[in-house]
């Protein structure tokens, strides 16, 4: 296991409410990511972070924000949840190649979010 914990694992929320998903890593890696998985779309990048307080948008960032105040935690917030944000959300960390780095990206177990 790559030492990634996502919480909660399942959540049902109502349209219009804010929701925060948490990703916690124990690997002290610089790079962290949030992806969403939808049938027929594979995984798509929402936001990513390349250091504490350093974040940037991915390809499907509308309606989402992120924060990273500590190396180990990366939060994803849905500011006002909509039904189109019903999805499975995966956090990932990346270990660049070189030195002891394995040149790989590792994923958490996912959070299944349903917006009703």
């Amino acid at each position: 296991d790559a030492g990634i914990t996502q919480s909660p694992r399942h959540k049902v929320t109502e349209t219009g409410t804010p929701v925060t998903l948490r990703c916690h890593q124990t690997e002290n890696h610089r790079y962290m990511y949030w992806y969403r998985q939808d049938p027929g779309h594979g995984l798509r990048l929402i936001h990513y972070s390349y250091g504490v307080k350093d974040t940037d948008k991915g390809e499907v960032s509308d309606g989402y924000s992120v924060s990273r105040s500590k190396t180990e935690d990366f939060l994803l917030t849905l500011e006002s949840a909509t039904s189109s944000q019903t999805s499975v959300y995966f956090c990932a960390i990346s270990e660049p190649p070189g030195g002891t780095g394995r040149g790989s990206t590792f994923f958490g177990q996912g959070t299944r979010l349903t917006v009703v």
């Binding site: 594979g42 995984l43 390349y50 991915g58 990346s94 660049p96 990206t105 994923f107 958490g108």
Partner: protein
């Protein structure tokens, strides 16, 4: 921009038969390539990766893949599949040398179903 195409959305095979899951990519720069497997209701597990060196890479569970730069392909193969290989398989790429902060671009996935 980069893209990944997995040519088959579903591949049914019989147990002990060989299988090939096809992946083609488009990129104007060098890339690192990955295959991930996802079992039902689980996260993504790294099967194998190509960063550099030998174009034939071996991964876990008896899978291997060959990087073909001229064909821009990275097809996944296994000589004899088991029922337990039933899962969804994702091909992914990232810009080589970390130029994109190791963000992954995914294909839409191939569902491998192994029948007795």
């Amino acid at each position: 921009a980069q893209s990944v195409t997995q040519l088959d959305s579903q591949v049914p095979v019989f147990e002990e038969a060989p299988v090939e899951l096809r992946c083609n990519y488009s990129s104007s720069v060098s890339v690192y390539l990955f295959w991930y497997v996802q079992y039902p209701n689980q996260g993504l597990q790294l099967l194998l990766k190509y960063l550099s060196g030998s174009t034939l890479v071996k991964g876990i569970n008896g899978f291997e893949a060959e990087f073909n730069k001229s064909q821009t392909s990275f097809h996944l193969r296994k000589p004899s599949v088991h029922i337990s290989d039933t899962a969804e398989y994702f091909c992914a790429i990232t810009r080589g040398s970390g130029g994109s902060n190791y963000k992954l671009t995914f294909g839409k996935g191939t569902l491998l179903t192994v029948n007795p």
